[in-house]
């Protein structure tokens, strides 16, 4: 009964009732993964200093789980499961200087190569892909990141 009501209400929001665009699909998956995880975290939150890492961890995990059709999500999951410190974003500050160094190089192709390797570091699993794959994966990754940002913003808004 409740589910019916939910479904009816859902129809108000989606343009076509039966068809979900990929961004919608992703967003739903994402929130459905993340929010319960957060709730769980909230319930058993005895060690407080670890909380930041754990939340980030959950965030990344939710991202990876909701985007499993892409190659990078597998790599991201691997990274997450191997260590509790996901390094996807923590290296961003060190990369900033790298780009400046790269632009001083005279060789054009060398510049481009360096930027491509930068990109590879940004993308989870980028090191193992060749250039073509990486470029297409980056497109997906960017979109999922954007959707993730939006979802996170609304979750934060909801709870404040």
């Amino acid at each position: 009964m409740e589910r019916q009501i939910m479904n009816n209400k859902k129809r108000l929001f989606s343009v076509e009732p039966t068809e979900l665009s990929p961004s919608e699909v992703f967003t739903r998956k994402y929130t459905s993964h993340l929010v319960p995880a957060l709730k769980k975290l909230n319930m058993d939150k005895s060690p407080s200093p670890i909380n930041q890492l754990t939340v980030k961890h959950e965030v990344d995990k939710a991202l990876a789980l909701s985007a499993q059709e892409f190659a990078w999500s597998g790599f991201l999951l691997q990274k997450l499961s191997s260590s509790n410190n996901p390094t996807t974003t923590t290296s961003s500050s060190s990369n900033g200087t790298r780009i400046l160094e790269g632009s001083c190089k005279e060789d054009e192709d060398g510049e481009i190569e360096e930027k491509l390797s930068e990109l590879r570091k940004l993308l989870p699993g980028g090191e193992e892909m060749n250039v073509e794959e990486m470029l297409s994966e980056i497109g997906n990754y960017i979109k999922c990141l954007e959707l993730q940002t939006i979802a996170l913003k609304s979750i934060v808004q909801d709870t404040t």
Binding site: T88, N140, T159
Partner: protein
């Protein structure tokens, strides 16, 4: 050196309006080529004859290709051939006009080719471009690719006739079509196809990333992409920190605790509404411009 394919009926030995080769073709050339051109020059002024002459010259060129190969390099000779085919077509199609002009134009085409080759070899900065443009089509395609090469080079040829003796090579062909010159192997073709795929993907990425449409040049676009990804990742980090603060607060709102875990269909409506409102707000604000629109319209799949 008389090529056997020449039609004797079209050539008169003493033509009062014949020209010395040096007038028309100021560049030093092989004797074989010179004789071929001389034959063309000395023909009688009639359309049909001109076309036969041109064709004969072309045929002459063809027969002397093997001789020239040693001297000029296979690619130039072949290019000459294709260029001449097109020029001869142009010559035969031109309705009226001075015979002088026609042949000067004809020779101009040849002129341009030689210059193009020289210019190409000297002024190429980007090695990738060089490969792209100079790669020959002779490898496996034979006649099939000669035509497209002829087509593309006829575009360049007509340009050349409009501006006489302008050494500007037709540089704006982006297709995989092999331009004159370099390699006969599959490797460079495959590499060029690969490069094309990569640049296709780069343009697709340019569509996704806001503000990247106006940027030209791989390096800058890549820069933008890197910056964008980094800013997105930083945003996510920041938001997750915020979330962590919120989460560890005294009370999480009723919206989070309402629904059962892991059930896709029963997310609270408020959360959904929030998310879609956010998306719409972003659209109107323009901070995440067109791509979002594109996503909702289902063109997400383009980049996957």
């Amino acid at each position: 050196m008389d090529p056997p394919l020449v039609n004797d009926s079209s050539f008169s030995p003493a033509n009062p309006s014949s020209y010395t080769l040096s007038e028309i073709w100021p560049f030093p050339i092989n004797d074989a080529v010179g004789s071929g051109l001389r034959l063309a020059v000395n023909s009688t002024p009639s359309d049909k004859d001109i076309s036969t002459a041109a064709a004969a010259a072309a045929a002459a060129e063809e027969s002397t290709v093997t001789d020239l190969t040693a001297g000029w390099g296979g690619r130039k000779a072949r290019a000459l051939n294709s260029e001449e085919d097109e020029s001869s077509k142009m010559v035969s199609l031109s309705s009226s006009g001075n015979e002088v002009v026609r042949f000067v134009r004809f020779c101009d085409d040849l002129n341009v080719i030689v210059r193009i080759d020289l210019v190409e070899s000297v002024t190429k900065k980007d090695s990738g471009d060089k490969k792209r443009k100079l790669c020959g089509s002779e490898s496996g395609n034979g006649d099939g690719s000669m035509k497209p090469e002829g087509e593309t080079s006829s575009g360049g040829g007509s340009k050349a006739t409009e501006q006489k003796n302008k050494p500007e090579p037709p540089k704006d062909y982006i297709h995989v079509r092999a331009r004159r010159g370099q390699a006969t192997d599959r490797h460079s073709l495959a590499e060029r196809a690969r490069r094309e795929k990569i640049s296709e993907k780069m343009t697709a990425l340019q569509d996704i990333i806001p503000g990247c449409n106006k940027i030209i040049g791989k390096a800058l676009v890549l820069d933008e992409i890197i910056n964008y990804i980094q800013s997105l990742q930083r945003q996510v980090e920041f938001l997750s920190m915020k979330l962590e603060v919120v989460n560890s607060g005294p009370s999480t709102g009723p919206t989070i605790g309402v629904f059962p875990t892991g059930d896709l269909g029963t997310l609270p409506i408020d959360l959904h509404r929030n998310i879609y409102e956010q998306q719409e707000a972003n659209e109107s604000r323009g901070s995440h411009p067109e791509w979002l629109h594109m996503q909702v319209d289902g063109s997400f799949n383009r980049t996957t």
